[in-house]
């Protein structure tokens, strides 16, 4: 099975399973139905149900199309040049994990310190080795953003353990 066909089968299966999962599991437990609904189409679950049935039907159509393509030996292309490489996807996983770690410490460490650390790690991870570039960028970008939002836009940004330095007092 070539790249595009595999993509279509997985996407079709995903649409089908998600559509059915929402209709039969998430809507019954996640949508509160009032008792005084005048007309069925006005019920809170009516609209999500229609969309999810449509999603499941699209999934079935994609799967049928893929089966027909496999049987007839036709496929419509290969991976685009800028598509993520399968053997490098773990690197995206590391960045995602780093993102969640950042989320966990944002309020404790504060936006400036937490994002500065993440910047250093991400630049090193991307292959940048020049400390004379890494350090000014890691210090300058979070500080500039912090002061823009706090001073120019009057949006409070948590300063965390640097509060006494950045805010004073």
């Amino acid at each position: 099975m070539n790249y595009l066909l595999r993509q279509n089968v997985i996407a079709g299966g995903f649409y089908l399973i998600l559509g059915l999962l929402i209709v039969f599991v998430l809507i019954p437990i996640g949508v509160d139905e009032p008792s005084n609904v005048q007309y069925a189409p006005l019920a809170p679950s009516y609209w999500p149900r229609i969309i999810c049935f449509a999603l499941a039907v699209l999934g079935i159509a994609m799967l049928i199309r893929s089966v027909m393509q496999i049987r007839s030996g036709w496929a419509s292309g290969e991976a685009p040049e800028d598509a993520p490489e399968a053997r490098l996807i773990w690197r995206a996983g590391v960045v995602i994990a780093l993102g969640f770690a950042l989320y966990a410490v944002l309020e404790t460490l504060g936006f400036v310190l937490a994002t500065a650390i993440v910047l250093v790690v991400l630049m090193l991870f991307a292959g940048e080795r020049r400390l004379q570039i890494i350090l000014p960028v890691a210090a300058g970008v979070p500080l500039a953003l912090y002061f823009f939002f706090v001073k120019a836009a009057s949006i409070p940004i948590p300063a965390g353990i640097l509060e006494s330095v950045l805010v004073g007092g």
């Binding site: 995903f14 999603l55 993520p84």
Partner: protein, 497 residues
């Protein structure tokens, strides 16, 4: 009338507006010039900076980014044959051969002159057409709006990717995500699961940033970094004679851009290629197209930039976004408590005129930025991606937090980033998702309002000729898309052995 224009001028003529538009054009040009960075991503990153601005100032900044991005894509297309935007790939067909011949400066100048002219013509079309369309739309009720939005969704989902089924599925995902929160009619919970932060639904900004900016960052880490080429500006400037010689192609391309731009879902790329092919067909130098013909650069850029003002016609007049960037700008209007559409023309005409003034100024800014700062922009575009993308991630975090000052939005952004990256891995386009997410509440609201009016009778969706007109357009579009796709024969798989 003059009172309205004077009032609009008073809203528009502020230092903040002039500065925001200028900064927007510069930022957009830089973003457009960097291969791997997209204009929607630029608009998404700029959006959080507009929260505390006046509505006109914030929207002008975003429009500046949009227009700058359209032009900026041509810079690296010409210098490096690495188009910053899909539409700019057409500019590179002749721009890059010109640069290789040592005429980069001339090609860039022609791209600029052509862009500014097309942008100006497109802006005029917006000013003249939007009001007329809006006054027509004043007679729309909920059923008419419902059919209009169905039509918009159909066409947008269809043209947002190579695969119609995947595009429609993506739109369904966006629609279902838009139902999270309190139900509009009965006020009951939908998919909240005892999380009070979900009661008002998912915020548009973290969803937008997560879908459009974060997957770019993740993809950068999951692909091998390309060797970095350095751009060089060489050769003489384009002359007025060059411009005059190509004026016919520029005007033709601009008009093509205006017509295609005004139709929801078409975008800059088809306009650029159609303009290019028409110029090639009509030019006496047609045989030279693709080998370094200045007229090819002019035609491609005119088509590409001709859509800029025209895509705002359906947005401002009907409240329907013509492409993904105008969908983001629609979100920006909503953040500022405004709802584009006929009622905006009725209630806030001063604001509309002020925007028109700013839009006209943006053409002049584009010219100034292109002439004065092209060398600096080309240098900034040389910043390696291994520095740029970590900075983008940090910008995303600040931007997602700033909308509501809640850390929950940062979590939503990362979750949407994973969904967006997963969609990219499966080849599912993100644009229909976001457009459906934005239009979803409006679609459902009009659907249910109509049924309330009609006491549950579905024939209300066929009550007027306007409904029939949009159903007809929807059927025509779906039919055309199916015909187009079934008419394309796929490639045969190589036999594995």
């Amino acid at each position: 009338m003059f009172d309205t224009i004077a009032a609009a001028f008073a809203i528009f003529a502020t230092v903040d507006n002039a500065l925001a538009l200028f900064v927007g054009v510069i930022f957009g040009t830089i973003i457009g010039a960097i291969p791997g960075m997209t204009t929607p991503m630029g608009v998404a990153l700029a959006l959080p900076f507009t929260f505390t601005m006046q509505p006109v100032t914030g929207i002008l900044l975003l429009l500046g980014v949009y227009k700058g991005g359209l032009y900026g894509g041509s810079i690296t297309a010409i210098l490096l044959n690495a188009p910053g935007t899909p539409a700019a790939s057409c500019t590179g067909l002749d721009g890059y051969p010109l640069a290789k011949r040592g005429e980069a400066r001339r090609a860039l100048d022609m791209a600029l002159y052509s862009s500014c002219t097309a942008d100006f013509i497109s802006n005029l079309s917006l000013i003249f057409c939007a009001g007329i369309l809006a006054s027509f739309a004043l007679s729309f009720g909920p059923p008419e709006f419902f059919t209009l939005i169905v039509f918009s969704l159909t066409i947008i989902a269809g043209v947002s990717g190579d695969d119609l089924l995947k595009g429609l599925g993506s739109a369904c995902l966006g629609l279902i995500l838009a139902t999270v929160g309190l139900d509009l009619v009965y006020g009951s919970n939908r998919f909240i699961f005892d999380n009070y932060e979900l009661m008002s639904g998912l915020n548009f900004i973290p969803v937008l940033i997560g879908l459009f900016a974060l997957p770019e960052v993740f993809t950068f880490y999951a692909t091998r970094e390309q060797p970095h080429e350095h751009s060089s500006l060489a050769g003489k400037h384009a002359t007025f004679a060059d411009y005059r010689r190509n004026l016919k192609s520029i005007i033709r391309g601009s008009l093509i851009g205006v017509v295609l731009g005004a139709i929801p879902g078409i975008g800059g790329s088809p306009a650029a290629f159609l303009s290019y092919s028409e110029a090639k067909r009509n030019s006496k130098n047609g045989h030279n197209f693709g080998k370094g013909e200045l007229e090819g650069v002019a035609a491609a850029e005119a088509g590409n930039n001709g859509v800029a003002g025209a895509t705002l016609i359906p947005l401002l007049a009907l409240g329907v976004p013509g492409d993904i960037i105008t969908a983001i700008i629609l979100g920006a209007f909503m953040i500022h408590g405004l709802r584009p559409g006929p009622l905006l023309f009725q209630d806030n005409i001063n604001l509309i005129y002020a925007l028109f003034m700013g839009i006209m100024l943006s053409s002049a800014y584009l010219f100034i930025v292109g002439k004065m700062s092209i060398r600096a922009i080309a240098k900034i575009a040389d910043v390696p991606n291994r520095i740029l993308f970590p900075v983008v991630l940090v910008l995303c975090v600040f931007g997602a937090y700033a909308i509501n000052n809640t850390i929950f939005d940062v979590l939503v952004m990362f979750a949407m980033g994973i969904i967006g990256f997963g969609m990219r891995l499966l080849g599912i386009p993100a644009a229909p998702f976001l457009i459906a997410f934005i239009l979803g509440p409006l679609l459902e609201d009009n659907f249910r309002q109509s049924l309330l009016l009609a006491r549950g009778d579905f024939t209300i969706f066929m009550r007027s000729y306007i409904c029939w007109f949009f159903w007809g357009l929807t059927a025509l579009t779906v039919g055309a898309m199916i015909y187009q796709r079934t008419g394309t024969r796929p490639l045969k798989l190589p036999t594995e052995g």
